[in-house]
Amino acid sequence: GASTTPHTEVTVLAAASLTDVFGSLAHTFEADHPGTTVRLSFAGSSSLVAQALAGAPADVLATADTATMQRAVDADAVRNPAIFADNSVEIAVPPGNPAHVTGLADLADPTRTVALCAPQVPCGAAARATFAAAGLTAAPDTLEQDVRAVLTKVELGEVDAGIVYRTDVAAAGDRVQGIRVPADVAATNDYPIAVLTHAAHPDLAAAFLALVRSSTGAAVLRSAGFGTP
């Protein structure tokens, strides 16, 4: 049941990679719930969890991986997170593909400059799993903290190739070129969402969560390159 109290605010803590998707869903939600404003606070997943644990006045938490969400679950900050999207890895190369990268095997070649995410972060874990599935050993020159850092280096041509998410290649437009990784080896990453246990507006939070998981939400997510369950 939607509240009709004017000037209610529902605050959503969301992973930075969801900036565009949640931005547009927030508009939809506000249109459906007059008098309600959605406040979106984007940061890295683990910052979000730290904030949630510290009692951030927020209602919804959406992270880019299940491991960080699990920390919120363990601390009883959320209950029953639901997976609303997934993302799989892809090779990104600078426009024109100057190093003539054709597939994962080229990323195992030490003469090429390659950027991956560090295994501690979701995109790095996914990259490692992908190489393992393909039976290759990667030869990275750098293990970045997040996808953004990999992407920046690809865009600037500092590296010949990097492993990022499909959504990132889609968002980067013509600044990078994507090379698909075969579906049987490409690792995927799940995005969980949950209502915070201390949410001030649990009903609205649930409504927003429902919107994200609805077909409307799935359409927006898919157009940004996400997979949906």
Binding site: T19, S41, A43, A50, A54, G55, P57, A171, R175
Partner: protein, 258 residues
């Protein structure tokens, strides 16, 4: 200036000025200029300037007395305090933000009482932005001002005292003017650092448009989706800060006599 130093000075200036110049050179002006007129950008810029100024003011109010104390205490046990004061410089800002949450968060060591007794919650407010920025930036002020106070010739304070001036009057008319260059440098550093603060802010204050999303946070977000726009925003932030810093200098640093 000793001969030979000139070449090093030029090299130093080049090292600091060329990278931003490259940024300007490569900036995709045409395609992103519309971002400048975006109300969200102006909002973030306004919030940045307001919170950085407030953080600087807070740092001045608390930091100058602290610097004074540190500069004038010969005691051995003050040495540790002096080192501790520089801790926020080294702490990765994100960890600084965590530290602030642990102290002032709703469940923090102090924050739980603030909440229970006064109903005050600091995180995720503009006050949190100011505190995060001050926490990170104040040490710059303290260290600079302490250096300036230490270099001061104490005999002028003696002279003021024998003229009947109390400690406050002496501080205002004699000491502060004499440390003005150091104070200005420290204030500039502090303001600049506060303006550029990112990690502690996003952790302690979150990133809510209009309330806690300062320019560096907006830039970080833009970087996720539109790196070109992020660079343009950075340049906006730069220009704003250079304007403020130049104004500050003109006001505070006495003209050099030839």
């Amino acid at each position: 200036m000793p001969r030979g130093l000139g070449a090093l000075a030029v090299l130093g200036a080049a090292f600091l000025v060329l990278p931003p110049a490259a940024l300007v050179w490569r900036a995709p002006w045409g395609s992103t200029l519309h971002r400048l007129a975006d109300p969200a950008t102006l909002e973030a810029l306004r919030l940045s300037l307001v919170s950085a100024s407030s953080a600087t003011a807070l740092s001045l109010v608390l930091g100058v007395p602290l610097a004074w104390f540190l500069a004038r205490s010969a005691a051995r046990r003050v040495r540790l305090l002096r080192a501790l004061v520089t801790v926020p410089l080294v702490l990765p800002p994100v960890v600084g933000g965590v530290a602030l949450l642990l102290l002032l968060g709703r469940r923090g060591l102090l924050g739980q009482y603030l909440d229970a007794w006064f109903g005050v919650q600091i995180p995720f407010t503009t006050l949190a932005v100011v505190l995060a920025e001050a926490f990170v930036a104040m040490p710059f002020l303290v260290v600079s001002v302490e250096g300036a106070l230490r270099g001061l010739d104490r005999r002028f304070e003696d002279a003021a005292a024998t003229l009947g001036a109390g400690a406050w009057y002496t501080a205002r008319r004699v000491v502060l003017p004499a440390v003005a260059p150091g104070l200005a440098a420290g204030t500039a550093l502090c303001f600049a650092r506060a303006l550029g603060e990112f990690g502690a802010t996003i952790t302690f204050a979150g990133s809510l448009p209009g309330t806690t999303r300062t320019m560096p946070l907006a830039i970080y977000l833009a970087l996720q989706s539109d790196p070109a726009a992020a660079i343009t925003l950075s340049l906006v932030l730069l220009v704003a800060s250079v304007v403020v810093l130049v104004a500050l200098r003109e006001r505070w640093v006495p003209e050099l006599r030839p």
